[in-house]
């Protein structure tokens, strides 16, 4: 974990390292369970920087990008965005084709022609725009759902580490010709210059090393709230365990006193 311009105690660093681990696990598990994708190799790095840091990470390039973003609210206010370069997005979409083809066929209103047979030219031709609206819609829908799952995993990880509760808004997929649009998505609606958490995931999928950028912005008050909660985390061990156990499996009404 790298922190620039943000003072963190060892307890905070430990908390954010665990967030990185949980976040990376979620990415891998989601890609596998949702899309049957095998990630052959992965590495990840977390950076925490002030939004107005002149040395804010620029490594994700200048664009174009595909992103899925949403806001979150509750105990924490912020934004989240998952970003891929155009080339990586095309490759990922291509890798999703087998599953998306099956999805297309299961649509009661679909034609018998498989999605794979209708694969638009843009998958192979980087100079072409998406023209097949049906295919574009389904690919974006799948990407939005991936974003929904990933941000949910992130807010759950934050809850398990801090007991701070957050709900997210509907994810929206966008194509951006440059990074200014992504920047705008990350500070939309925030009252104060946020702190930026950047998780850089390198994922080897289908022979290509993709870079999935996970950006989380937290407004100043929310970031301090996270730090305060991490300071108290040692005394919350039993609560965190309960939260973890309730997190990822079905829960039935009769098992709770409701």
């Amino acid at each position: 974990m790298i922190s620039r311009g943000v003072k963190l105690d060892p307890c905070h660093e430990d908390g954010f390292d665990r967030l990185l681990l949980k976040g990376t696990q979620s990415v891998l598990q989601s890609l596998e369970s949702m899309f049957e994708l095998e990630v052959e190799h992965s590495s990840s790095l977390l950076e925490i920087v002030p939004w107005d840091d002149p040395q804010a990470p620029l490594q994700f390039g200048d664009g174009p990008f595909y992103s899925v973003s949403c806001g979150f609210e509750g105990d924490l206010a912020g934004r989240a965005a998952f970003v891929l370069s155009e080339g990586d997005f095309r490759h990922l979409a291509n890798e999703l084709m087998p599953v998306l083809s099956l999805m297309f066929l299961s649509d009661p209103g679909a034609e018998l022609t498989s999605l794979e047979q209708r694969k638009p030219n843009w998958m192979d031709d980087t100079s072409s725009a998406l023209e097949d609206e049906e295919c574009r819609s389904q690919i974006f829908d799948a990407f939005a759902e991936l974003g929904n799952v990933l941000v949910g995993a992130c807010t759950r990880a934050i809850y398990e580490l801090t007991t701070l509760r957050t709900q997210h808004t509907l994810p929206v997929v966008e194509f951006s010709s440059d990074r200014s649009t992504v920047d705008g998505l990350l500070i939309e609606g925030l009252a104060s210059p946020p702190k930026l958490l950047v998780i850089d995931n390198e994922l080897l999928i289908g022979g290509r090393m993709l870079r999935l950028w996970s950006f989380i912005t937290l407004d100043a008050v929310s970031f301090e709230r996270v730090l305060e909660s991490l300071d108290e985390c040692a005394g919350r061990a039993s609560g965190a365990t309960l939260a973890s156990r309730a997190g990822r499996t079905a829960v039935f009404a009769e098992s709770l006193a409701v």
């Binding site: 099956l102 999805m103 299961s106 649509d107 389904q138 949910g152 759950r156 509760r165 499996t249």
Partner: protein, 120 residues
């Protein structure tokens, strides 16, 4: 084999769940993208069970759940969400959902939950 109505604004999620559900021997008799479609199909098709996504554009899952239960108080509804906040789960169960399932779907978990909810 149960007749199931799937409600989710994501086509991918609807299809993913349909594949799991039908692979388990049940029949998806309807798919709704939002609250209005859910209520219309619920009234028309009278499914034995409904799977209902919490986070949707327009009406949220708990709002749709309230409408379904006002039509059929004993309706069997499984709430589904990718949300990480456990309060969503608590809210859904308190509102009358029989079960809460997280996303991404776990095939075994989905089918076991359906079987358990359908038990008399």
């Amino acid at each position: 084999m149960a007749s199931i109505l799937i409600v989710d604004d994501s086509a991918f999620a609807r299809s993913s769940l349909q594949i799991i559900v039908e692979g388990g021997g049940h029949k998806v008799i309807g798919r709704a993208r939002n609250g209005e479609e859910a209520v219309d199909l619920f009234n028309e098709l009278k499914p034995e069970l409904v799977t209902l996504d919490f986070l949707m554009a327009g009406e949220t899952g708990d709002q749709v759940l309230e409408r379904l239960l006002s039509i059929t108080p004993e309706a069997k509804v499984i709430m589904i969400s990718g949300m990480g906040d456990p309060a969503i789960q608590e809210k859904a169960l308190a509102a009358g959902a029989r079960c809460f399932l997280p996303k991404p779907f776990d095939k075994g978990d989905v089918l076991d939950s359906i079987d358990r909810v359908l038990q008399p």
